[in-house]
């Protein structure tokens, strides 16, 4: 138990997902291209009106200085070029070209950020231009050649600059904050539907083989051959299902709490965004509550959390090490940990919990202890232990 708890503590110390400077860009560009595609024609005027409506020339505002704007624009340009290339249809590719034109002309980095074209990308671009020229779309021609004249293209070997191992940029296609996207936990990655199906097929074959071995008229396999669990696949499925249900319940509950706290937010996007920020503040609040004077303050959240934690710990057959794959389950455990730590009152500095406590909050520890009445602490501790 202590080993897995230590593992929980260590895993919690993993750094957060790094900031994504191009959060939301893909959505904006997608909506622009969609608007342009809906108009049906490939004339520049339509694109210009869609662009103006979305006010995309302001996309780089808010960046604090040239360096941040540059970093931002490099990734945005990489995203924009994708629309210009196959396998998009002609309409979308035209929208992509106009988009590149718009982005290049409204940027103000010095020297200007350029579009990186690999050999294959340039060949595709030239094919597209040939097609457009043959259909006499003069505005497409003009836009492309003016970009070329402004030397907006760099002819490169790799799509982005390659830095040393580990410092290459994160995947720019994923631009939504990580907690909003459906994270595939390791359990789900191992036990995908395909794998489970294959497993059940193998299991069925195995059972049939055993029955065949038992004799020509046998319906059940020989008892001597019973070496594995009988209904393996069923129990596996039920375990995974319970785990998933638990995860979704915890997520819903966490998101619901945040929503109640932030009633002035309008969109659901805001809620999800606030959730990430509020995790930090939630933890901070709990920390301050746990270490502030007075016992009643941190008794209140504990019964709810410990009961749910108790439920989660007993309900599933999944070992605790696997349980902490998602952020929310970590929070769950973490909240209980914080509340129970001062109660147990370990003065042992060498224990991992003691060390952690010592480094995080040095001074408030002793006053807290003095203020509490020892009898009440021990009673709550015992009470909680009994529950577990």
């Amino acid at each position: 138990m202590s080993d897995s708890e230590e593992a929980v503590v260590m895993k919690r110390k993993k750094p957060r997902q790094p900031r994504n400077p191009i959060a939301g860009v893909k959505e904006d560009l997608d909506s622009l291209i969609q608007k342009f595609s809906e108009s049906g024609t490939v004339r520049y005027e339509n694109f210009s009106s869609a662009w103006k409506q979305k006010k995309l020339s302001m996309i780089q505002s808010g960046r604090q200085d040239q360096q941040e704007a540059r970093e931002f624009l490099e990734d945005v340009f990489r995203l924009a070029v994708v629309y210009y290339l196959p396998p998009n249809n002609f309409q979308v590719r035209t929208g992509g070209l106009y988009l590149m034109f718009g982005l290049f002309n409204t940027q103000f980095c010095i020297p200007p950020v350029k579009f990186r074209m690999t050999l294959q990308m340039w060949k595709d671009a030239l094919d597209y231009q040939k097609e457009a020229h043959s259909q006499q779309h003069y505005d497409i021609d003009f836009v492309f050649h003016s970009l070329k004249a402004l030397s907006a293209f760099q002819f490169v070997a790799s799509e982005s600059e390659m830095y040393l191992k580990g410092s290459n940029r994160r995947n720019i296609m994923q631009d939504i904050p990580s907690h909003v996207s459906d994270e595939v936990s390791k359990i789900d990655a191992i036990f995908t539907k395909d794998h489970v199906r294959q497993l059940s097929a193998v299991d069925y074959q195995y059972q049939q083989l055993k029955i065949a071995l038992a004799g020509p008229n046998a319906k059940k396999p020989d008892i001597a051959l019973a070496v594995i669990q009988d209904s393996l696949i069923d129990s596996l499925n039920s375990t995974i299902q319970q785990h998933q249900e638990r995860i979704t319940k915890m997520r819903k509950r966490d998101m619901g709490e945040e929503g109640r706290r932030q009633e002035q937010l309008e969109n659901s996007d805001d809620e999800e965004e606030e959730e990430e920020e509020d995790h930090g503040s939630l933890r901070a609040k709990l920390k301050s509550r746990a270490y502030s004077a007075g016992t009643s303050k941190y008794k209140i959240p504990s019964p709810q959390k410990t009961s749910s934690a108790a439920k989660t710990e007993t309900a599933t057959m999944v070992p605790i090490g696997l349980m902490v794959e998602t952020d929310h389950s970590e929070d769950e455990n973490k909240q209980t940990e914080y509340i129970s730590m001062p109660d147990l009152g370990t003065n042992d500095i060498d224990s991992p919990k003691g060390k952690k406590r010592k480094s995080s909050q040095k001074s408030p520890h002793s006053p807290t202890k003095k203020n509490k009445s020892p009898a009440s602490d021990r009673s709550t501790t015992k009470h909680r232990k009994k529950k577990k």
């Binding site: 520049y44 996309i59 540059r70 003069y138 505005d139 040393l164």
Partner: protein, 379 residues
Amino acid sequence: MTDSKSDNEQDSTNLINIQEFLEKWSQIEDFTKKALEKKESPLEQIAQDIDLPVQTVSDLSAVCSLETLLCGSEPEDKKLYYQVIPETDLKTLYYQSQDLQRRKESFFYKNSVLKSMKYNVNDTVHNPKLQNRATIPPEKQVPTPNVVLSINIHRPYNFKSTQPMVDQKILVRGDMFLTEFRDAIDCVNNLAVAGDFSENLAAAQVAPTCGETFKSGFLYIEGTFYNDFRHDDNRDYSKPIIEWMKNSNNCGTTHKTTAMESVRFRDLTVKLGEPYLYMHQGNCEHIISFTDVRMLIADDPQSIDDYPFVVRQVSRRRVLCRSCMMYTARWQVEESVFTPVEPCYLCDGCLTSLHYDEDGNKIGHFKAFKFADTSSVQC
């Protein structure tokens, strides 16, 4: 040549033969002198490319002018772009404003964001001046078609961080020899002077530096050691390494030694993002990596004097003098009774005033070594 996976999923690209890269691009696009010269009026250029009369092209340019892209709410002063986030329905701006709010609230978050940014405000960045090729005398013009490689030079490996930090970023051309690149790498060890100069401080100014004395070095790229044999007394640092690798059974690749001064960049076959090594002065190692290979276009520096072009020089912390905390330290003092720590870094003035009397005689027993701070190499 290009990869099937996106570059973000790989640590480094496959092998890229620079000469092949150059030839393939030259076949489908024009990179010769004619194309690199900036025309006076781009409209004529465009008219030529599309095969339309100039009048039509100028009408088209009116259709696709900058006004069509501005939505009217742009601030006049460009600096306001950075500070003010206007009210739009763009998701990007929403997330950015959230991020800025968070930075305002938490000092630690702001610091971590600034640390993790790709470009640092404090770096010295040199941007190539946009010069018309015609203004450069023909013997100084860059030969075309040509390739530009961008090389990152890293700081010495620090075991605390996970990867080496970039120190410099240099642009080189395909037709340059490796030795020209080697000379452009600034290493503070080249300025180091060996020996104790406490008896005669002035002699340290004229003593030969390590860079002048120990001129050997090699570049290790893709299994080949490119040694610098320009001077007669340069040693082959790679010989003991190759012998050791032959004797140990684990090494599969065969290693070769070549002279650096006979190899041009376009003869190389490199992997982008792969760490390579530059070694000099016996044991001073620098990790280098090729970040980018691209064709030379009009916006790159057009004069051969500009290369190797130092694009970015990361700011280096300087070591201050311990006593005045104002000037950069020039001396490393050891075994002195006057200094609180050993070794102690002092500037010229503090050293002479602390350790020498009015007549310039040395007081006590100490050793003074000339100290070259990393920021003293030219940026």
